[in-house]
């Protein structure tokens, strides 16, 4: 069964802005799905419509088979939302925020308190349960929004840039938590500007730009489309000039590291064989940019280029 099924979804705002121009999307139950796109691409509008915070202009949306037009309450009951902007009453206590949210989903108070202890504990907020939300740091507020979204144990969790402005340690802890949540059976849809996050967490990716889906495939298939990757090699002994490596584009950086562009048709083994023959020892290796980021930029820039060419004609 599809956790989410979107057909020809259109949203035109009253000011005439076409935020969504007929998108189709299907997310399988149990998937960890990345919805990527530049700012203003339509991601948040799509999420707003799925969660019935925004009225659609046309199209169909179903959550686990429940249409938002015909079975809205049943559809809503399946969704947990972590919105992009912090949207909690700053004067309410941490505990009241999650327990009240459970109440809105019809969960009895004693059960809500049990779940609050579980989720606030897992997100390391239980000790702060009696404090008003305004006392929490930005990262804690983000975690509180995740606990709030999970309190009714939704089948579909939608996270709209959940780690924006969160330091790397907390971000990685949140990734671990989300992985465990997904492994426990919750379907997750994630939007993020940290493409490393999407690449490491998600199994499926859709890229949306200017209100249209321009890529939608398994993460592995998307990454295979990369024609070239650039690696940075730290050399054990510095070299005076750029080595000539047959078939590989190289660049000697100011810091002495070597940048090597590798076509998808070549192997790293070929590169290391060449380096060994030239007596160059490599102490470490890393990607210059995140692979998904390269692809994302390529796709969006190509589209901008073709749009500019189209408008010029």
């Amino acid at each position: 069964m599809h956790a989410l099924s979107i057909k020809n979804l259109i949203k035109t705002y009253p000011n005439g802005v076409e935020a969504l121009k007929g998108i189709d999307l299907e997310v399988e139950s149990g998937d960890f799905y990345a919805l990527l796109g530049p700012n203003g691409a339509g991601k948040t509008t799509a999420i707003g419509i799925i969660c019935s915070l925004i009225n659609k202009t046309a199209g169909d949306v179903e959550i686990f088979g429940h249409s938002i037009d015909r079975e809205l309450a049943a559809a809503k009951a399946c969704i947990g939302l972590v919105p992009q902007e912090i949207n909690m009453n700053p004067f309410d206590t941490v505990l009241n925020i999650v327990v009240n949210q459970a109440g809105y989903y019809g969960i009895e108070r004693h059960e809500a308190l049990r779940r609050a202890e579980k989720y606030l504990g897992e997100l390391r907020l239980w000790d702060r349960r009696s404090e008003p939300a305004r006392n929490l740091s930005g990262g804690m507020k983000r975690r509180l929004m995740i606990a709030r979204a999970l309190i009714h144990e939704p089948r579909l969790l939608i996270l709209d840039e959940p780690t924006a402005g969160v330091d790397i340690e907390i971000r990685r802890a949140m990734w671990d938590f989300l992985k465990r949540t997904n492994e426990a059976g919750t379907t997750i849809i994630l939007t993020t500007h940290y493409l490393e996050e999407a690449e490491s967490l998600c199994r499926h990716v859709a890229i949306i730009d200017k209100g249209k889906i321009i890529e939608n495939a398994p993460m592995s298939a998307v990454l295979r489309k990369l024609k070239k990757e650039i690696f940075i090699l730290s050399l054990r002994d510095p070299v005076a000039e750029r080595p000539n490596l047959d078939g590989f584009d190289t660049l000697l950086r100011d810091d002495g590291d070597l940048e090597v562009a590798i076509e998808s048709t070549r192997d790293l083994n070929d590169l290391f064989a060449l380096l060994s023959r030239k007596g160059i020892a490599v102490s470490s290796l890393r990607n210059k940019t995140n692979r998904l980021e390269e692809l994302f930029i390529g796709l969006v820039e190509n589209r901008q280029g073709s749009n500019a060419a189209g408008s010029g004609a």
Binding site: K76, I79, N89, P90, G103, G106
Partner: protein, 257 residues
């Protein structure tokens, strides 16, 4: 509609509103208590002693029901308009909008919160009134039902105001320019029989007149208007304002783009 889910949602909203009223008691409970004490001292005690009686009652006794009703009306309205607009402005209204709770439950839950505050303040003002005068409730059922229905009317009005409000100024315009004048002209301090006939007829267009007089009838047993007519007017307002609130919520006016 899932009745169990909506019942839990309703009780959660009422509990949340009650906690809010108590948490900010300095803003919600204390000001009306001080204001009403001043009304009783100035209008009831100092000026009232020179006025004498009205409709056969000591002036302090005569104005007490009106002042209690005034406190209930203004606090019911203020609670819903500030709570719902605050949630809209801070975007935590989304917590409710994404949930499977029905729009009816969201409206009724907020209205119940307004009624809770209205009755809390009304009860406190009644206690203050008893310090200054003696009140014997002639018709307890009428007294309670009128105060409850009036509180519902103004909670619903506050809800509609909050739906349309875009900034904090918008939630003070109606109380300042409409609610307060209508309350003062609604027979709190005088019987409309004192007015010339033309102004008596104009006063009959003021819905607060019916609430104040019906409530006064419940406590003192005297009224300028028919009690059945008052119930009909208040009932019409409850039905009308609830329908408007529900239509606005279903259409997402002011809350969904």
């Amino acid at each position: 509609m899932n009745l169990h889910l909506n019942w839990i949602g309703f009780t959660t909203l009422v509990r949340k509103e009650y906690i809010r009223v108590i948490r900010i008691w300095v803003q919600t409970i204390v000001p009306p208590a001080i204001t009403m004490t001043l009304y009783f001292i100035i209008f009831g005690n100092l000026i009232g002693s020179r006025i004498g009686s009205m409709d056969g009652f000591d002036y302090m006794q005569y104005i007490a029901p009106g002042l209690i009703m005034m406190a209930v009306i203004t606090n019911s309205y203020a609670n819903v308009v500030s709570s719902f607009f605050g949630a809209k402005f801070g975007r935590h209204l989304e917590e409710m909008l994404i949930s499977p709770m029905s729009n009816v439950t969201i409206i009724v839950g907020h209205v119940a919160g307004g009624v809770v505050r209205g009755l809390l303040v009304g009860g406190l003002v009644t206690v203050i009134a008893l310090v200054f005068t003696h009140l014997h409730v002639e018709h307890p059922l009428i007294t309670f039902s009128i105060v409850l229905l009036s509180s519902v009317v103004f909670s619903l009005a506050g809800f509609i105001n909050a739906v349309f409000a875009k900034k904090f100024d918008d939630i003070s315009i109606v109380p300042t320019f409409i609610l307060t004048p209508l309350t003062y002209l609604g027979g709190v301090f005088y019987s409309i029989s004192l007015l010339p006939e033309f102004w008596q007829n104009v006063s009959l267009a003021n819905p607060i007149l019916y609430m104040v007089n019906a409530f006064r009838f419940g406590i003192l047993g005297t009224s300028d208007i028919s009690i059945a007519y008052a119930y009909a007017i208040i009932g019409l307002f409850v039905a009308g304002l609830f329908t408007v609130s529900l239509v606005l919520m279903n259409r997402g006016v002011g809350i969904r783009s």
